[in-house]
Homo-oligomer: 333 residues x 4
């Protein structure tokens, strides 16, 4: 309560707290009175309390997410798909171009990343583009090429879905449904992928707090889909040398908060191919369960994100360099 | 080009620039060589150039949006709807509860804000909620109550639409389609509202740059819908005393960049009812074309956003206080 | 306490709380136990508690600043100097060039801003420059010119002091000691200006929270100098269209928290002369007690900050435009 | 130049560019005219150009720092002190308490961190404290204890200096002068430490861009002191789960820009002891030259920063875990 809250305001709040089924305890302090609310009503927003007269602020004690929390499930979740596990001892590497550009491009990339040790192929068929005048993806044709690549290489296919009505189509071809950073709080989409039984790769929004990130995962989980892979891909800060700020500290922080696996995207997270290698090593060292890396046969000719893509040859070298880092922290590649 | 770029790399880039139809001029400097690219190819991303060997960075000279720009259209756009113009001399005030909770709640609020001078009624029927366990809106029932309120009061109805498949339904009831901050880069939704001929109120994403904001507007405009109202509602910064940071400086900045009208949301922008009044005055003083304000008959009992809602009585007082501020900057209320 | 905190850890914390003279009350919740600490020990940092085993987090109820708080002093503080009051009904305008460049430049500017209605003259003699190779100020010579200008015009002189050893020298010439944004947490400097009896104009650091800002003021106040003027000058965010983000919402927010006067710097806050006018109007509308504006006779030839300076003629026009805005919110110019 | 810039404005700018000794080349584009300026005048701020009529913006091609740049010196700089090299093949670890609290505390810590493999001892005698009512350090007494610890253990002493007048005193005892994050742009202090011949450990300001960080280093370098160690310690972002956001991507980014060694502070960078281990591993994996870690014999009783301190035993374990990570990236411990 505020310093100047009246007795009547305090009494009123105590009654309100009790009216929703919580126990209220009044703590009379030297400068402030505090009403402790005991019970589990975490669906009631802080805001609900803060609007009443005489209230200074409401401090939630319980996290607002449940199924995603480490308390709800102590053991780490492993997500299984054809030929890949994410969240196990082995660090999982998903690789491929930003966008499916042609049959040849995606097949050549798939073969190369498979040979280098990737467990899944990424590639966008539906592309969320900031600028309406730029290439928006091959759509179903792109999905078909991804399926072809899976057939040939055995790699699982990870691809983005952008709206609820595309979910059935993308499910037909994909092994993992990616929800992009700009859609992290697209709640109808979260519900739609939550209704499927495909693993969901959920990218963190570029200004999302960890709590909002876990609440977005909770949308998927609460629809009955328990297979959510969290992906850190950089946040927006004042720094402009890199495209985003890749905050690796969230990996060990999330490990304390949730049982879900966490992977890192060093390509979008930095926007610079020269930083992909060091940040991949850093991600594994801090405990990430996997990486998602942009690989393009000819970065200079990529329709999108060329500046942050590495070549298949660079990817092969990087995979060799990552193995000792993984071993150093008790993981396999 | 980088300091150490080779002659061959420079020649290669000059050829690439010319191959897309631009004119290339090589500027040989004391520490760096620069290739000036002349022509209008603003659909080619910076990234396309930055991926080539020897390139240090690409600096775009032209803004990537076209239809939204002040250069494309020098006169300010006015959006007209029943009983309201946004972008004219009169400052437009949209008011109403965060969420439609009941027939009585919305009718009572509509009457009160109409009496105080609002030109449009806001109220959410479909609510984007961070937490999946909280109230998600009355949906079509809510839209019906809004339509009833319009019938009775003559206020235009502004309400949010959250996914492409809901656009036809919301169009049936609404005068203005609101795209929320979390959906500012939901591109399928932007295209869907762009295909309608209803005015679109586009809220700025909480980490969106001004360029991204105008490119989101460009998505709507490029589908043929010229009626876009921009809305600043606070950005996410390190500051935690207010829910978001309401950066009024973007209002005069956007006025230089675009012909579209700009309104301000002091309720979401601050998250505190005590700041709604001062920030409304500030918004008008810096040149905003309108305000969108949360008004609830009983903020303490609001299902959402009670802490930032003001009462009808407070709204009435505020409207009276805003009139001299508008007059002081040459506007009417 | 954490969900899994042991009885022993809880008992241990209760003892620690009591050992520093606070009363501890254990609240046993459904998922967490909370220890309420009653008493006023706000000099103990949260951190002190958070380090103990089993503790999840510490939530301070009392603000850590005392003298600066509105609770400590309900009436707003007015700072008086020759020919000027800051914090009264009249909006105070401090104007002048970023840097004192010459006798003629400062005298001409002083006459012009005096004629237009400014109450004080700003001008840097010691300049904090990001780049070591750029102009660092005229130093004592600059102070002398400022004193000359005061003699001729009667304007109070506001100028920056950059380190404790310069305080006596600057005091000899200045009416108000300015502490720059980059020095907001230069604690030896804060103590040194706190030991003088000159008013201190304290600029908010570009990443300072409101609490840190008020604690910086508290350093000055706790040395016995009660004359602190707070100055918002823009924070650093992801936005790059303006040099900084001028968050006017902190003005009414600070008014709730502190009795100290608050002024706004629209020149540094935006970095663009075209935005100085609108943001000055906005600052007054949200309740600022004053403005500090960069005025230069020839912005194009200014040694520093030309892009954000306005001419004396533009300043004269602006002052006339500000008067009705001030009147609209019950203030004088 | 702006889209509507007149011929006269363009001619005027061409003349201004040439008047400062640069060559001006006018590039006539389809929507904009651009004036390319050839020559090395990087001490002229962008701002100088942007203030002229008709100018839209100025884009600097050359970085504003010189001595710090990788171009000025291609080989990486190694900083040598008694028993330690920072910037060599061996990863240097500086460890010790946030603050010197007593003779016993600092000696015990020094012995423990020496035994575990640290090469230098950190410990604050002069403490920059946000809150004026909290412990400010033992001052000279603290420096004496640090010197005693060096005598006994052979560890180099790293300690903070807060203002120019303390530089001689701190130099008497310290091997490395630390400039704290809040003083990164305290220019008189940077000059004062630049005039000494002691290595300077320069912490990045919490809202400093990389360019500002390197310009701060340039202040020290340009005074003739070539021994600057850069230290990343977390930036301020919207994220609140950690105290700051430790952006490891700046390590490989800075390695491209500068020859100076770069170390990481995982203690301040996260504010949580549980994250110190993972982030130390991550820092080494991304290529950091060293670490600075807070170690306290009894974190729970630390006067400052207990929540982010680890115990000597934890430090010993961590050092053993770091060795294979260093080996994995071709470094020694």
């Amino acid at each position: 309560m505020k310093a100047g809250a009246t007795k009547q305001q305090i009494r009123h709040m105590v009654e309100r707290v009790e009216s929703v089924g919580l126990k209220a305890i009044l703590l009379e302090g030297t400068n402030r009175n505090v009403i402790a609310c005991i019970g589990d009503k975490r669906h009631i927003p802080e805001d609900f309390w803060a609007a009443a007269p005489g209230v200074e602020r409401a401090v939630p004690i319980l996290a607002p997410y449940k199924i995603a929390s480490r308390e709800a499930k102590a053991t780490s979740t492993e997500i299984r798909m054809d030929g890949a596990v994410i969240g196990g001892k082995k660090v999982a590497v998903i690789a491929g171009p930003c966008t499916v550009e042609s049959r040849e491009q995606i097949l050549a990339t798939a073969r190369a990343v498979k040979a280098a040790g990737a467990c899944a192929l990424r590639g966008g068929a539906f592309k969320p583009r900031t600028n309406p005048y730029t290439f928006q993806g091959l759509m179903e044709e792109g999905l078909e090429y991804l399926a072809l690549a899976r057939e040939e290489t055995g790699l699982a296919v990870v691809t983005e879905v952008m709206c609820p009505e595309d979910v059935p189509l993308v499910c037909k071809y994909a092994d993992v449904l990616q929800v992009g950073a700009r859609n992290m709080q697209n709640f109808p989409l979260l519900k739609a992928v939550g209704e499927t039984r495909k693993p969901v790769l959920l990218k963190r929004g570029l200004a999302a707090t960890l709590e909002e990130f876990l609440l977005a995962a909770e949308y998927v989980l609460s629809e009955g889909n328990q297979q959510v892979i969290l992906c850190e891909r950089g946040i927006r800060t004042f720094e402009t040398y890199t495209r985003f700020t890749l905050a690796l500290s969230i990996v060990p922080q999330l490990k304390e908060m949730t049982h879900l696996p966490i992977i890192v995207d060093p390509s979008h997270g930095t926007g610079k191919s020269s930083l992909v290698g060091p940040m991949s090593k850093g991600a594994i060292a801090v405990g990430a369960d996997g990486l998602i890396i942009e690989v393009h046969p000819e970065p200079e000719r990529a329709l999108l994100d060329g500046a942050q893509s590495i070549t298949p040859a660079e990817f092969g070298t990087l995979m060799k360099e990552l193995a000792p880092v993984a071993a150093a922290v008790g993981r396999d590649m």
